[in-house]
Symmetry: C2
Subunit: 429 residues, 2 copies
């Protein structure tokens, strides 16, 4: 049996403790599968005295992450601190410079500084692995960098923030408004300290930016993601969408087009009987489309101790087996700078309107849509509300985002709208 792989872990929250538990529980299994013992030598976290659900007494406690990252008896530095800058980044750089490989679950860091870190790692002959950074326990990074390496990737889509999906499915099942379910989620501890990371779509966009880089061989460009969160989704939209056979999901889509790379994270309608439409609660799903393989769908838990630690163990096992690969699947210095394209791929759209209950209102709306070149697939007028407004739902045929934007801007000028129109893209899945 070869020499042990010695781990140093910085960050002992849910995920870090999950890793400790697996290393302890599955020591034999890991040794069998990697051909060498996998051991923890040093750990650190913000608060040494915090009560943790694992026995850490066999490991050296270091007072800071830098000490773990650079310790002589650490081969592999596991960064579970989080944050796109600061000690997370500094300690990873220090570890690489000290000749360590790195495993991290830090999507924010990779989305913002991934290119720089990949270049540093590769110049030093080290690897950074990050299976846990995207979609928790789902092996999407490995699938894309390795399993689908014979494909030109055409599109990547995913529901990658379990909290948002929990909120949206709970709104539908309980018939509760956004604010009430948001508060529930907060009380259940599902939200990040800064909840806009979740409901604002930022966390999911970090993940999408990472997937885009691997899919298209481009430098990770989080700044280019068009981001919209789920805050404006009302229970009305959820119900109306359901009437039409759709569910609303916070969906990330990354797609290379002739005009450049489109990356968007936004609430979309998907058919309720599609795999994405069927997704409930905190489960994640990633859909990858390759020119050879067609559509591959991967589904699993997107967060939680076991699933996230499982993904980190996958990286640890890989390094224990001495599998070494460029960070984003091809050398960082060969990744290209993608032209950023605003979303232009045509799609059907859902438009919800509240019209004044008077003759000619619907005709004015139809005229505006017609002038914008938008043709209507289905239109449904509901009984009027107490305030005499009339809900109208339009599902368009495929049209361009520009045409929709134009229509949405023009519609209020008809003078027949009671409130701002709501438009949502119906993503083809």
């Amino acid at each position: 049996m070869s020499s042990p792989l010695r781990l140093g872990i910085a960050g002992l929250g849910t995920v870090g403790i999950g890793v400790v538990k697996i290393v302890q529980k599955h020591a034999d299994l890991l040794a069998k599968r990697t051909g060498r013992p996998v051991e923890i030598t040093a750990v650190t976290a913000r608060d040494r005295l915090k009560n943790r659900d694992a026995d850490l007494s066999a490991y050296r406690w270091e007072d800071d992450a830098m000490a773990v990252a650079t310790a002589d008896d650490v081969d592999l530095y596991i960064e579970l601190i989080g944050g796109e800058d600061g000690i997370a980044k500094d300690s990873i750089e220090a570890a690489l410079r000290a000749g360590k490989d790195v495993v991290t679950a830090n999507k924010a860091l990779l989305a913002v500084h991934g290119q720089e870190l990949a270049e540093l790692a590769e110049s030093l002959g080290r690897v950074i692995r990050f299976e846990a950074a995207v979609a928790g326990g789902i092996p999407v990074i490995k699938a894309m960098t390795e399993s689908l390496a014979g494909n030109q990737i055409q599109r990547v889509m995913g529901v990658m923030n379990g909290t948002c999906n929990y909120i949206l499915t709970r709104m539908e099942s309980a018939g509760l408004p956004y604010e009430a379910v948001f508060e529930e989620a907060r009380q259940l501890g599902y939200l990040e300290a800064d909840p806009t990371l979740d409901v604002g779509g930022i966390d999911a966009s970090h993940k999408l930016a990472i997937l885009s880089s691997i899919a298209f061989g481009t430098k990770v460009n989080f700044g280019a993601v068009e981001i919209e969160g789920i805050e404006r989704i009302s229970i009305d939209d959820i119900r109306r969408a359901a009437d039409m056979g759709y569910r609303i999901k916070l969906l990330g889509v990354s797609q290379m087009t002739a005009r450049g790379l489109e990356q968007r994270m936004s609430p979309c309608l998907v058919p309720d009987d599609s795999p994405l439409g069927q997704l409930v609660g905190g489960t994640n799903m990633v859909v990858v489309e390759g020119d050879q393989v067609g559509q591959i769908v991967l589904r699993g838990a997107g967060a939680g101790e076991g699933p996230t630690a499982s993904a980190i163990m996958s990286d640890i096992v890989e390094i224990a087996r001495d599998v070494r690969m460029p960070v984003f699947g091809q050398p960082a210095d060969q990744l290209t700078e993608a032209q950023t394209a605003r979303t232009a791929v045509p799609a059907a759209y859902y438009i919800r309107l509240e019209l004044q209950d008077k003759p000619g209102a619907l005709a004015k709306v139809a005229a505006i849509l017609g002038e914008a070149g938008i043709s209507i697939d289905r239109m449904r007028q509901y009984g009027h509300h107490d305030d005499n407004s009339v809900p109208v739902l339009v599902v368009t045929h495929k049209t361009t985002p520009d045409a929709i934007d134009h229509a949405i801007e023009t519609l209020p000028k008809t003078g027949v709208l009671v409130s701002d129109p709501v438009e949502l893209r119906i993503e083809e899945v």
Copy 2:
């Protein structure tokens, strides 16, 4: 850039030609992703003169597979001949002995001789990869050997024969009997030359046996799979199951229990709104349950030129990157001989009966079930048929296969059955 990886391909059917096309079309992509050119040097197939959908003029034609397998200018031998013995096996052994790595899509060979071949490869320091052997384009071998390596696997399930799933879903959607859809499938070219490989569940069982080995670290044991095909599934069963909220799938299940390893391939009921229940046509799905990750679902095309070739390219890329791993995820000489267990994990069952339309018939059935210790979850009696028989459907609570076997044996003795009872397991998914 490193030296080229030189491929020799034996077998130029759909899949072989698919590999040729990808190597030609994605030469740049492959070089970027592996850091070296991937080239084909030698090919062979049964019939040189057959018209093929690819330009093979740049490759040396060899008259037999042995010549490709052992050629000096071949680094990686790709066996796409098929068959569990004969030239497929001989040429792989010759390639290993000649210092080549091997990629194969040959599930029958691996299911029957996998242990022997793995031992040979590992004793020679060579690798055999076989992502394409199970579930076509779905990266399940990599997911299990690598991504889930930090898990004790608890159960593996899958719909892994697209032809059977096509037949079952087509029977439901078109309301056609088994024989008619079987004939359709034959005319569409969906069936193997020996169709019992498909509809008899053998092909899918080959795949299950391979997955079991990886999941549980046991020697592949195809002979221990309890196999039942879809031949006895009637349109009646499909309709009645649908009434109760289920779909019938040819489902493979591999599960380690205290009594040993259960491997079964049989038509089962699954909830129609579960991911497995939603699967239509030739799509495959594999569900893996690990103690850490929970349930991971992988879905994609199970066959076809592009998807299968994509899986083979994944193996080729891995070898081009010099990733080397034991064949079944841990050294072959450490794989254990699993105790074979007949299915004993309790489950709910579906029982369809045709009773004589006379008083007391149902009471006699209920009595038999009660005596066998089987309690009834739901029972439904339908209007009588033209022959005055009465269809009765029973969904049981969880019970043991032994109890069901006993009841099914005893029921005809009541003298109230018009035909043999049909029982199907309702697998918990």
